[in-house]
Amino acid sequence: MSYPLGNYFYNNGEPSTLGQSSSSQSLFDASTADKIDYSHPSLGKTLINDFRDLVGTGVSPSVLENLLKTSSGNLELAVNNYFDNKMDKENLVNGEAEPPRPASLRRNLNSINYSPDYVEQPSSKRTRKHSNARDWKRKHLGSILVNGQSTVRSERLIKSGDKVTFQSQVFFQKPSRGRKRSRQSCWQNTMLRFNSVNGTQLGIIDDMQLTYMVANLMDAGVCEFEGEVVYIGDADGNIEINDEILIDMKIYILYAAFSREPTFSLSRENTKFIITGPNSVAEHKATDRKNAIMYMFEQCKIKAKQSSVLTQEHKQAGTLDAERIQEHFQNEEWTGFRSASIHQSLYNEEEETSSNISDQQLNALYEKAQRLDLNIPEAEPPAHTFLFKLRRYQKQALHWMLSKETLDPNQTKPTSLHPLWEEYEFPGQADDTEETIADDQPNKFFYFNPYTGELSLDFQKVDHCRGGILADEMGLGKTIEILSLIHAVKYPTIDPNQCDIVDLTEDSKPSSSKSVHRSTSSSTYERFPAIATTLIVCPMSLLSQWRDEVKNVSASQTLSVELYYGKQRNWDLKSIRSRKAILPDVLVTTYGVLMSEFTDEERKPATSPLFNVEFFRIVLDEAHTIKSKITKTAKACYALRAERRWALTGTPIQNRLEDIYSLVHFLRHEPWSNFQFWKKYIQTPFDKKDIRALGVVQGVLEPLVLRRTKNMRDSNGQPIIDLPCKDVEIEFLEFSPEEQDIYDSIYTHSKTKFNYYCQAGSVLSHYAHIFQLLVRLRQVCDHPILAISKSKNTVDDFVEDGVNFSAFDAEGNLNIDRLIERFMTNYGEQDHSTNYQLEMLEKLKYGDDFSNKECPICYENLVNGVLLPCMHSACRQCIMNYFQSQVTSGKSGQCPVCRRGPITENDLLDIVRKNDNVCDNKNIASSSSPGAAMEFDDASLKLSAKLGALLRHLNQLRQGNKMTEKCVVFSQFTSMLDLVGDVLSKENFTFVRLDGTQQQSEREFVLKEFKKTGIDIMLISLRAGGVGLNLTAASRAYLMDPWWNSSIEDQAIDRVHRIGQKTEVRVIRFIIKNSIEEKMLSIQKRKNAIACGLGMSKDEMKAQRLEDLRELFS
């Protein structure tokens, strides 16, 4: 036990000024002080008696009077002052310095406190000068009376007034089993000793909390402690073991505590995150330090002069201690709001580690934001420059954005404190004879962050978040909305000249380039203001769309736009600096460019224009790109400089709550952009399934997010947008008998494998392989050839592998087709070998194994490998030697492995390893070049069920003269698009194609072409076309194959069915009956049901996955 006797000092604790400066509100106000002593209120009388009880009767009335006056009626204070300060020595009677003390001291001190509130001195006017005058080493924070126990027996070893030193000692080192130590054991393990000045051990402080505090603060280099004996039981200085010794512990905070950045801190500007586990050693130490500081403040009765309401609440609720929070939440009954997962993307390659978030939860999260959004007033963009006519809800968005960019006048005070920090005033120095600290004296204040434990002498400014998350649902026109904002506020309202002047003077230096280098090598490298430039970061596929949109909506010459991509980087840092380059109003770049420049910038600072320019505004399009805060792209975005920051995304939370944290961090929305803070008050409670976390998140998102959905209605009950209706139809098809055979064979093969994994219990660990099997099955549903051929057209495949397989026929022409044809004709005749062949073709397709495939003859890895018709392989030299030896013994060549033959040299197919990755994109893009491998005679290319159905539909359209309706054909397999392309060109349809292999410029071209009349059909890969694209020129969509997750398909459909669509949209999804596709469909359905219902735990999810797989192979 110790006795936190409280405040030993008071604000201006100079004895000489006590009487004058005190303006307390207590009974013993200075004006009435004279009257008190013996006659005044009974309370005063009691006080004095109590004081005398404690201190002895030898105190002179004048001293007493002074004491009482200055202590504002607080007996505790008075006693403390008396002993601590020895008061004004002239006022003390000699010999009274060591008065006899009653043994009941403890009880009395604890129980007597007449002034229930510590009366704070009215704070003087604060000036926040960051003076460099840091010539002090330590400052007195306060004193605590602590109760020690002697551990020695001695005579005359110490007496009152002797100095003692403190020393913490770990006396019992438990073998730490886990990294997690409980706080309790920390205390037990440490002991606080006090020694005499010459080092003799005197005793220990028997108080766990105090020990914990002192030990941690000493270890962390935050504080120094000095002690002075104020009372020992025996006035002669004889002590027995376990004798009580009262010590006045003076606490000094060290200058070093402020200058040293605690290593665990997450500095706000810092882009380097330190992601550590909750129980990591560093974090644990940090928590210890933080708690120790807070405890110390409490003991010294130092209170924050300025602190956010939020922090105060948290302090009161005691929630600042993470452990306490957790315990709290663990006991909490969980109701309805389950943190679990949307059982999402079963077949997503990416494993989600943290728990996902369900649609239901998402709706709840957005609910609040959405409700309020209906009543936002409207704002008009400047009509003379902005040509587009905004819809009503878009005007509302503009108003909202304008208001977000205009700072709340309450926040614009430059002096407002960062909400996570608290301001403290250094107390007067009790043992210092310096004159009163002047108001403007440097380092009068210091700052403490109770969340991270950081201390600072510098004022902690709040970073204002100007911007937000525009989260309107896809198709509502986020692009237009943000463009209207750019038109509405193109320049900062402050005088830009100021910045110019600063910059120009810099530039006028002759050795400009050199000075750049020098100035930037220091830590405070400067940024050059791009005062009127809005930087837009978007995915590559949307690059040109942004540029076009900017041009489309702007009256000519009103808004300049440039791309910053590829070779189109027109300006460099130097030219910006020297004002030679004129920055455009809108600069569009991609996440990829951003990331690569960020990498360069890290390696060689101050080189990248993007990161050394202070933009006027930054807009992240499809901002969920940076949902993972540890990715380089995300870090690059954090490092961008601009006051106004916007994030556009239709899905601010994709899977996990943490997704949105990254956006909040990008926006610098204090205090939530601090990860510790976020984790503590949002993430952890949320993961612990605390219902209140929902409220917190709602509260955070509400002012930050604007989200409207397509089916929202305005205040008049009208839908905010009305699109022509869309009709989605599933067309069930049946395999032809040949297709069925092939499908069945592959299906059986896959099922066998799956069952094998099932029995071995290793399904989930062979996930990738099973996934491959599934892909093949799905390809067969499109066209059997997809599953067995390695088409030259699927350029993305072999670019990845770096392996290309070419087949030489006698003329030396490439001909893998022949191989496939041959295989197809043989199909069914040689059943026993079919599986092997299929497997090898499979390997060919995936570029598998051949690089380290062994020649069956020389046992070396294949050198100039060849493929025999039976799909066995060998070195060309080895197999030729063998043929030679066969021939000399009068036999014909045959396969050494399976003896199939006769085989001649002409039958050998070379396996060509392709290293140069040169591929002819042009051909692939148009997919109509005669050299493309996928060419079949009319006879050899049989239409698959799906191709036939598609062709039927298109022909119907053509015959009905309805070709004014453009069509989009989606498939997730580029090879399928190849086939469709071949068929279409044979049938004389005109079409364009867009897939992931195309460069940006090609894509642009394709999109433009499609808008022209005469091009009727676009082939597009599901994944490439999923985001952002605007395909409203089309009104029909054909989805050749289903995706695991219907939302991906919906997204694709929404490319067509979005704002700007004028006619009814018809969507047809082709599904093969009784195939894996039909099963996928039912899984899709169930998933949607699950997503709407309750979430699932991780284990449940695993079980579900397995169940899904079983269903597929049932």
Binding site: I857, Y859, S889, Q894
Partner: protein, 155 residues
């Protein structure tokens, strides 16, 4: 002699590292193309309980030509003659370089399990087998006991 081809080294390594059950092959230290081989008589065959010694030689042209294999232990078998020569197609015209020592020895082991008197090398034995199989088998058993190194039958 030219350098040992990599194939032979690899085969040898694999033979030793991952021996087939009942087959033991060790190269001679002075000539790595020459192998001492022990084949355990397959269960349920008249050769059960015996260990048969063979020699195996990889000619210069190997693997384009088959290895040369001969029984050293006397054996009563229609496809193996008095000199221990073996009548097995893969050791002759059905040889393929994709075959290897291991497959050859496994084939020989299989041959012990399934004698083929229709394609005889030792005509008298084959005839015996055809005329009176039980008697021939009994004789093969007797030979095994007499000539093949004995192993204690498992209790």
């Amino acid at each position: 002699m030219s350098m040992l081809p990599k194939r032979i080294i690899k085969e040898t390594e694999r033979l030793i590292a991952d021996a087939a059950p009942g087959i033991n092959a060790r190269p001679h230290e002075e000539n790595l193309r020459y192998f001492d081989v022990d084949i355990t008589g397959p269960e349920q065959s008249p050769f059960e309980g015996g260990i048969f010694k063979l020699e195996l030689f990889l000619p210069e042209e190997y693997p384009m030509t088959p290895p040369k294999v001969r029984f050293l232990t006397r054996i009563y078998h229609p496809n193996i003659d008095k000199l221990g020569r073996i009548c097995l197609d893969i050791l002759k015209d059905k040889w393929s370089p994709a075959l290897q020592i291991r497959t050859v020895l496994l084939s020989i082991q299989a041959l012990l399990s399934a004698p083929n008197p229709d394609d005889p090398l030792a005509n008298d034995v084959a005839q015996h087998w055809k005329d009176n199989e039980p008697e021939a088998i009994a004789k093969a058993r007797e030979w095994t006991l007499n000539y093949a190194e004995r192993i204690t039958p498992p209790q």
